[in-house]
Symmetry: C2
Subunit: 365 residues, 2 copies
């Protein structure tokens, strides 16, 4: 099967670029002698997970229990569910763990820590540490850290932080500084726990930007990152991914033509309504338009508007787009995690136009 035979819109994943991105991250972390627990929230695919865990301890991170169930069903047992747990979700975790998985949960809440410890089959739990993002977590010096740890007792497995504010870093120096704050904060939290007798074996940090730009990972036992596997326009804009190393694109067909613009069959559902590049140095609208081979030879053509199933391509005046109805284009996404989520499979290529595999994804909750 060739790319031109595929139904549109669909996801095209370039395995050659994917392997290069995975290799770059592995080599970087190997220099720090810190293993990777890849975050599968972007790829949501066992085929990608196998590539991303190769040469690593084998554990993964997930963002939904649907992912945990899917990956456990495919033989991955060491799973960190890195979104704050609710007491109601503990039964589903227990069910997975009874069936052989070792799902670790996350909390920053005293009552929830109590619910975990009181469950008939408590999972191991990490305490979420806020190292500056201000989303979830207790700060490293908060007294509540020790109270939550005491409440978890033997189920405490360590600490975790996510410096999601690294995404608002506007230079690699910014990101390196944020990475150091992230590292120092979560290590400080682990040290406080150890001072009062907790083992806290897991000290987990990560985001693709800080994983790739941390200068020092002392005290960190694992790094989490996900979007680096595919990359996207936003990561390229903040300098943490090469624009030519975006592994995932949306294949689309021309469905309308007017002077200076085209309609394509990739709209707000196929691309997502993510506008993360709106405030970036370069605003790509809803995505950058590439040719059918995934090459950037259409200049600055972007998806300027996105209806549910229609995308409006605004051509670059220097690169007129004279294409017939049915012609194929590929769109590099603003935010690959959001774009991939509308699709149930990847059509895998290796640089060329031959589809070498179809890899399913797990979506939903």
């Amino acid at each position: 099967m060739k790319i031109e035979d595929l139904p549109t819109p669909c996801l095209v994943l370039d395995r050659t670029i994917l392997l290069r991105n995975i290799g770059n991250m592995a080599r970087w972390l190997a220099r720090h002698r810190v293993p990777l627990r890849p975050h599968m929230k972007t790829a949501k695919s066992i085929d990608v997970a196998r590539l991303a865990t190769a040469g690593q301890p084998g554990g993964i991170t997930v963002s939904t229990l649907a992912e945990a169930e899917y990956f456990a069903g495919h033989g991955i047992t060491d799973i960190l569910y890195a979104v704050g747990i609710t007491p109601q979700k503990l039964d589903q975790v227990a069910k997975l763990n009874s069936a052989g998985a070792a799902v670790i949960v996350l909390t920053d809440d005293l009552d929830t820590a109590g619910a975990i410890a009181a469950h008939r089959q408590p999972p191991r739990a990490l305490i979420e540490i806020d190292t500056g993002e201000g989303r979830g977590g207790v700060t490293p010096d908060d007294n509540e850290l020790l109270e939550i740890a005491a409440r978890l007792g033997p189920y405490l497995a360590g600490v975790m932080t996510h410096a999601g504010h690294s995404y608002s870093g506007r230079s690699l120096d910014d990101i390196a500084r944020i990475a150091e704050t992230e590292r120092a904060g979560v290590v400080r939290a682990a040290e406080r726990l150890r001072q009062v007798g907790h083992a806290a074996p897991i000290v987990s940090m990560g985001s693709s930007p800080t994983a790739l730009h941390a200068q020092n990972l002392d005290g960190i036992t694992e790094v989490r990152a996900g979007v680096y596997m595919f990359g996207d326009l936003f990561q390229a804009e903040i300098g943490t991914h090469d624009l030519n190393s975006i592994a995932l694109t949306v294949l689309t067909s021309v469905i309308g033509r007017r002077p200076g613009r085209l309609l394509v069959d990739a709209g707000g559902l196929a691309l997502s309504k993510d506008r993360s590049t709106a405030d970036a140095p370069k605003d790509y609208g809803f995505g950058l338009v590439l040719d059918a081979a995934g090459k950037r030879d259409l200049g600055d053509a972007v998806i300027r508007r996105a209806y549910q199933e229609h995308g409006v391509v605004e051509a670059d005046p220097m690169h007129p787009l004279e294409l017939p109805i049915g012609a194929r284009l590929r769109i590099a996404p603003n935010h690959t995690c959001m774009t991939a989520a509308a699709h149930d499979r990847y059509f895998v290529v290796e640089g060329g136009d031959e589809v070498v595999a179809i890899w399913p994804r797990v979506n939903g909750w």
Copy 2:
């Protein structure tokens, strides 16, 4: 099963409100003596389609071939695929039509009209008319209209327009004016076709706003509308839907708490990144926060930020949110078509907290 037993995030669909919305549209169009061809791109559910087509001729509108296949498989045969067709998609249409469906396609392109007529099993086709939206279609007085009609020959079934720019109307008078332009334009196109001998039996217009606010539908043979079934915050802001008649909400759980705000497990995937209310009179962020019963008693609490799986609820200072981890809330969406698309089913209630049915959805392409 009760709402409190449901896994989160998930869709809750209130059948009582849905039936009221469907009844209002049917009564309004009955006054004009024009039937409805409901657009199923919002609901994507056979159960909803059965309610929306009750008392109507029975045909529907779809936005993807996946919907066409799904609804045809559930016995609905009269299907308008209302997104510009490509020559490559004609085989799939032919396959559905061979199996008993009567899928009608849409084009505004001369070459594509030729490809339709030359197919081994041509579907009937509508010509898309641009009555002011400027997305797709030929204008009513364009010479190309007659050329495309000639190329389609016996497969020409009529004309269709979509006044999507009614969404930017800022008053009901605006919308009524746009509806009249939409009606007059598509009827004019049909008249031109009839003057040269084409039957053009179908003269189709629609969008929920213009369907509900047209004062005159003379010459129109069918109206298409979809979002009116569920409604959303954006439709409420433009005055075409009652804020208390939004049938679809996202059920979510509290997963974090800080002064003045909460974290919930409905983020950018469960809600979509749609920000259509950003420019509306009232900006609801990524959605309006309701209590677990779907009532608006939390004031102006909204989802201010949306990460992949985390939503940040900004409380209304007049309505402090003191809720434990695991407490339930419901979120009214900005744009119901986009929000529903991340979910594979509806949990159906009838005003109360009892789940009376589970209705699947068809997603993807």
